[in-house]
Symmetry: C2
Amino acid sequence: MQDLDETSITQSVLDRVANAPDPRARQISEALIRHLHAFIREIEPTEAEWEAGIAFLTATGHMCTDVRQEYILLSDTLGVSMLVDAINHRLPGNATETTVFGPFYVEAPEFENGADISGHLTGTRLYISGSVRSEDGAPIANAAVDIWHSDQEGFYDLQLLDQRPGLAGRGRFRTDEKGAFSLWTVKPKYYPIPDDGPVGKMLKAQGRHPFRPEHVHFMITAPGFRKLVTHIFAEGGEYLDSDVVFGVKASLIRRFEKHEGGNAPDGQAMEGTWYSLHHDFVLAREAMSQAA
Amino acid sequence: MQDLDETSITQSVLDRVANAPDPRARQISEALIRHLHAFIREIEPTEAEWEAGIAFLTATGHMCTDVRQEYILLSDTLGVSMLVDAINHRLPGNATETTVFGPFYVEAPEFENGADISGHLTGTRLYISGSVRSEDGAPIANAAVDIWHSDQEGFYDLQLLDQRPGLAGRGRFRTDEKGAFSLWTVKPKYYPIPDDGPVGKMLKAQGRHPFRPEHVHFMITAPGFRKLVTHIFAEGGEYLDSDVVFGVKASLIRRFEKHEGGNAPDGQAMEGTWYSLHHDFVLAREAMSQAA
């Protein structure tokens, strides 16, 4: 019998999973054991610290409900979600970069281009326009463009259902034959992720704030192209350098252009302050094997 | 602004925890981020695998109740608990080795030496005797010796409360002036850890059984000495080479001597089959700083 001690135990645990029926389950188990043991060897937890770790993982699980996923927040705030996103989206040079999906997407009704999706959300008016193209610059017609964002206080419609039932600040658009789409809504704001649970305590212990910088979510799909999940962030906004979920990429920061009166791009005569945002998205073609 | 990508994200996350108010919280956070990211980079999870990981952690948390700690089971079955135990018990040469505490301890009544603690547990009679000594061989009088074990089917009293209320197969003894203790009980059996939850699913996916080999738990305390938490395992028992929680150490395996009739060590005339187990325990002295 092999005598287990501080030195030999890791190999013993690795040996134990050598007969996992599925090779991928074996590979993941072996990597988990090696990296987890290396972490433990590095920090040398006291027994009280080990107990605190067990209590943290348990509380994080207990915080999860149908409408709150604390383990996704943990993955997000430790940079794991963005790392997994990066690994799964090694895109060709000029394709629009991806970022985290986030917890606030729900399927929304389809609108005509130029429609106003702000609904009951309050805020300064914002005109969003853009195009969807392939890597060679050809417009993609009839692409589905899903858009969702917060109000001027940083709240999504889903967080306001108690006071104001109904979806707002979200909708699906279809690109025209030039690959273009456009809509009216209101300008969003930075906001904190839910920080009243174990992840909030962790952020505090790590000396971190819980905020995400101002952004609009986009999800764009078209047959033959890879689905694009991304945000556009507001240039000059707060927390761009310290997004709590590490979602910001330089290529996704755009100016939300400020205007006073004048005419909007759709010809509408405007009064007071309003904003406009334009971005041209590039979709990567699906690999042949995925398209088959 | 630093542009986050697959390569740079780990350093960005590390930078973010650099201002943790407590240095130990910072050290643990940094190690966690490095090892967790290294694990992700090695396995390159698909998005579906990441979702499965989130679901596993969530289900493990949801399985935890007042009487079931699935995260401790996870720690145990991945060898983490024994690694933490080893790190926290680097004992002098001849001190008795430690092993996992396990989930079945509760404080039990104190008995006189020679008493029978089997209560309502069924099984073949077992006489346990031993001594408690310091590293230099001097007997330790009045040490508290807690003992607990399963019945002949592998069940602890705590698992039988529905059918048979009351504690059984557990008790506290005090060593006499020669450092000796003794008691009667019944012989335990190997048993599975609870495997109807996420950890059970993990073991199955890893091609592993859920069993622990036959053993008796000991916890021994005496002023001026380090608390000893350990088991004595039955020589020749099943699963000694594959304890699901990696708790077996060669020095903790002892013969459960089989007898037919004759006289027991306490002079009692015996009929039929019975067993005896003897072990001399050695406690490490508490470090000065801990004793202070």
